[in-house]
């Protein structure tokens, strides 16, 4: 047994409380006590452990696959400068920088992150980050509820289902009324339904995602924006693929007062789904309602620039039960990575990379729709992913299984989330998707359709 205490420490504590041994102090009832030692192998020498783990690691196949997966987690290039800077011990060991006098480096990095998020979303301010995009949406919805005093949240069905699920979890506890807007035939939110739903003014927020879960550009038209404004409803813009901000208009410019999203695309490793980095940004009007940490810039007693946590009266360590949110942890290290990424690629680099994503997705669409029977599921323009309808008689699950046999992860079976679109696969291309990858996918689909089986790739 490992304990952090020395034998003399333990003896002193036992004698203080007047018992002879640890077994006497903690009596486990015989009915539940372990009768024999656990069947755990003995400890290994470090070198043996390394061999064992390396052997396990070699069984991972994922890296050898060609991937068209996306749907909220995106493969993008991460320049090596990120690791060189972000893995510095000063950053890795830092904790929440309450103590500004010893945390200027991290505070400055967070301040720069907030600045980048504000610039990319078009908002006045952004926070130091939250767990992930889905949490950011739930927190954004709470901001809108607090701002309006209303309990309803109207969410497009084209918002990522995982995001809606997390929002639903928050809503249950807070007794919010979450309702859905349907998807129109072109794969965007049915805006014609929107105005009627907003008429009675019971919704705190309307939630739209751009690009939406089908990859489609999905922003409100003028009529929808007028209806949202006239009803006093707050538009929350979700950005699940942050790379899109390099090519598409910022949420503020399509009417959002609150922008939330996921920053994983900016250099953060896919890593089986986390840790990622959520962002929340808003107009100045909602400054006091934004949750979590905010870093502000000021001057010190000598007039030099200095950074510090600010507006902390919102937070739970000041007003526990009346805090605007009980979210506390930010994703400082992931936000740091994203900040270094953005600093490294710069504005023009981000724009070029985002544009390349659009170009790659269109190359993917062009090749896949040349396979007999395959077509675009929706007509709406897309950023870097698209729903592809499978030929009649070929189920997406069997197509994906066939691709996997050929070393290709073909995408996400949309039927998993949308029974109404169970004939379709969501496919993603990024700047890392090569012509060869697309050709391989096209050839594999051709082969599957032809009913032939090609030998699996090594």
């Amino acid at each position: 047994m490992y304990t952090p205490h020395t034998a003399p420490d333990i003896a002193a504590m036992l004698s203080t409380v007047g018992v002879a041994s640890l077994d006497e102090l903690v009596r486990v009832p015989p009915a539940v006590a372990l009768k024999e030692p656990l069947a755990v192998p003995p400890g290994l020498a470090e070198v043996d452990l390394q061999r064992l783990i390396a052997d396990y690691a070699s069984k991972n196949a994922g890296v050898s696959y060609t991937s068209f997966l996306g749907a909220g987690a995106y493969r993008h290039y991460a320049p090596p400068v990120i690791a060189s800077l972000a893995m510095r011990g000063e950053f890795l060991t830092a904790y929440t920088p309450y103590q500004a006098e010893v945390s200027q480096g991290y505070l400055q990095a967070i301040y720069e992150w907030q600045t980048y998020v504000s610039l990319l979303t078009g908002m006045d301010l952004a926070n130091a980050s939250v767990y992930d995009g889905a949490t950011a949406l739930a927190e954004g919805a709470i901001m809108a509820v607090n701002a309006t005093g209303r309990r309803g949240v109207l969410v497009s069905r084209a918002v990522h289902p995982n995001y809606r699920a997390v929002l639903g979890t928050y809503a249950r506890g807070m007794e919010l009324d979450v309702e859905e807007i349907a998807v129109a035939a072109d794969g965007t939110t049915d805006l014609a339904l929107l105005a009627a739903r907003l008429a009675d003014g019971r919704f705190a927020a309307v939630v739209l995602q751009n690009p939406n879960v089908f990859g489609a550009i999905d922003v409100p038209d003028d009529a929808a924006r007028r209806a949202i404004e006239a009803s006093g409803t707050i538009l929350i813009g979700v950005v699940a693929e942050a790379m899109s901000l390099g090519a598409l208009t910022a949420p503020r410019s399509w009417g959002a007062q609150i922008a939330v999203g996921e920053g994983q695309s900016f250099g953060v490793a896919l890593a089986y789904g986390g840790p990622y980095v959520g962002f929340i940004a808003s107009t100045k009007e909602h400054m006091r309602r934004i949750p979590g940490r905010l870093v502000g810039r000021t001057v010190d007693t000598q007039g030099a620039p200095a950074y510090t946590l600010t507006l902390q009266a919102r937070e739970q360590h000041i007003r526990r039960e009346r805090a605007i949110s009980n979210i506390c942890t930010n994703q400082a290290h992931c936000a740091l990575i994203a900040t270094i990424y953005l600093a490294a690629v710069g504005g023009s680099g981000l724009r070029r990379c985002a544009t390349l994503n659009v170009e790659r997705a269109h190359a993917l669409a062009e090749r896949v729709t040349r396979v007999p029977g395959f077509s675009r599921r929706f007509a709406a323009p897309v950023f870097n992913e698209l729903a592809v309808r499978a030929p009649a008689g070929l189920r997406p699950s069997s197509i994906l299984a066939g691709l996997q046999e050929r070393g290709i992860l073909g995408g996400v079976d949309l039927g998993r989330w949308y029974p109404e679109f169970s004939d379709s696969v969501l496919m993603t291309a990024t700047e890392l998707t090569t012509d060869a990858d697309i050709d391989a996918l096209g050839a594999a689909l051709d082969a599957i359709v032809a009913g032939r089986k090609e030998p699996a790739r090594a």
């Binding site: 005093g149 006091r288 009266a313 000041i318 007003r319 009346r322």
Partner: protein, 127 residues
Amino acid sequence: MAQPAGLLYSKEHEWLKLDGEVATVGITEYAQHSLGDIVYVELPRVGAEVTQFANIGVVESVKAVSDLFTPIGGEVVEVNPELESDPALVNREPFAGGWLFKVRVADVGERDNLLSPDGYEELIAAG
């Protein structure tokens, strides 16, 4: 220190001035002095229905964050628009320009639950 006459007071250090069916609410000189420099006042929404002594907002100063209560129930009909850009007005003129909000009083009988100027003076003298 005599408290302004013609006003009613709560134990939470708010004052109330009844004018017909509308009551104007603020915090007292004692309250603003205790809080110190006020940097933010969160007020209820116009149109909100509030009940007497309910927590309806927040006053944030450089040294504390304090809940704000309404000394009377009814519908909030107006909030002081000056306070968003100049919250320190509450420090400078707590009984005048630094008023917080106005309520259309639902039950004027609720004023019987409030203190007179002398009653409030006794309260703060007792510390």
